[in-house]
Symmetry: C2
């Protein structure tokens, strides 16, 4: 029954994280000191250092856990069935799930992609998508048969476009449903497929 210590530990960490997120909403990362975080969280400054190395460590771990959650959703997303469904005009249930996850963690994504963050989360998220997602599809020889644009540009183009979509969604205050977003995303994938052979 030593779990109560873990609970205390976890509770403090959560408090630190939520306070930090709030602070990031109206202040740039550089202007947030450990002092301020501790004060706002109602803990001693020393306590912060019992949990995190410094504020960069805090940010890193929060971003990592966000990406981990996203990865769990993307892992189940198989390109094959996804495109088959889309071909039939259906919206992939799994693709909707990814947008749902983003929607559920709206503030996190908004803050980490926003102007007050500095850590290059945008770039990491882009690399993340390239690695986990679009590369599988773009590398699929059945899908992209006759591309006239080099593969790396195709990938960069598609991933950035996808990220742009997400950012616009966040800017719009999540006005569209995850299903609508998934639909738009499917459209984009099809644009890219049709990238050749027109004009």
């Amino acid at each position: 029954m030593a779990e109560i210590y873990d609970q205390m530990n976890e509770k403090t960490k959560e408090k630190i994280q939520s306070v930090f997120l709030q602070l990031l909403e109206d202040r740039h990362f550089n202007k947030i000191s450990v002092q301020t975080i501790a004060q706002a969280a109602g803990i001693n400054r020393g306590t912060f250092y019992l949990h995190y190395l410094d504020k960069y460590d805090l940010l890193d771990r929060m971003e990592a856990s966000l990406l981990e959650g996203l990865e769990n959703h993307l892992r189940q997303l198989q390109p094959g069935p996804l495109l088959e469904e889309a071909e039939k005009g259906a919206i992939s249930f799994q693709a909707v799930g990814v947008f749902h996850y983003i929607g559920q963690h709206e503030e996190w994504f908004r803050v980490f992609l926003g102007e007050h963050n500095q850590s290059g989360f945008h770039r990491r998220l882009k690399d993340f998508f390239v690695r986990h997602f679009l590369d599988k599809i773009i590398a699929n020889p059945d899908f992209f048969k006759t591309a006239t644009v080099p593969a790396d540009y195709l990938s960069a183009f598609a991933t950035s476009a996808f990220l742009g979509l997400i950012e616009q969604w966040l800017d719009n205050g999540l006005a569209e449903s995850p299903a609508e977003m998934a639909d738009m995303y499917i459209r984009i994938i099809f644009f890219i497929r049709n990238l050749d052979g027109r004009q």
Copy 2:
């Protein structure tokens, strides 16, 4: 003949900027102090404050001057002629000029878009393009007749894609010529135009 003072002043500023750029190439912005900049530039720390408010001010002004240069190239870029030329299969001379400008300021763009910068230059550059460039084209009713995707998403999508292209170009060490890049860019614009009506 008081210009010699301006020359001294300008020379010091240039030295500060070039040193700062070099430092940003292998160190994160947060890890660069005014001390270090002054030392590397061979000037007194106090002298730095005669020219800039702080290191944020230095960064802001450098980014601003880079965008100003870019703006000068984009200003002359009229959507009408550009698309007419593209329609004929020609590569716009002016579009090539924009990529040429980026290529000429390779290190600046690389550093400011890279992981060591923090100021959200990516987002500012994206907003810049939305404002100066793609909006004109996308808003052109003659060009995009029947879009099924909302205009703001279309714009976000297109701009992000364009930026992705530039980033990939920089990552590739400018392996392609400005003309090739302009060609790819034209392709993308045409994809977007054909965004509707398939599938």
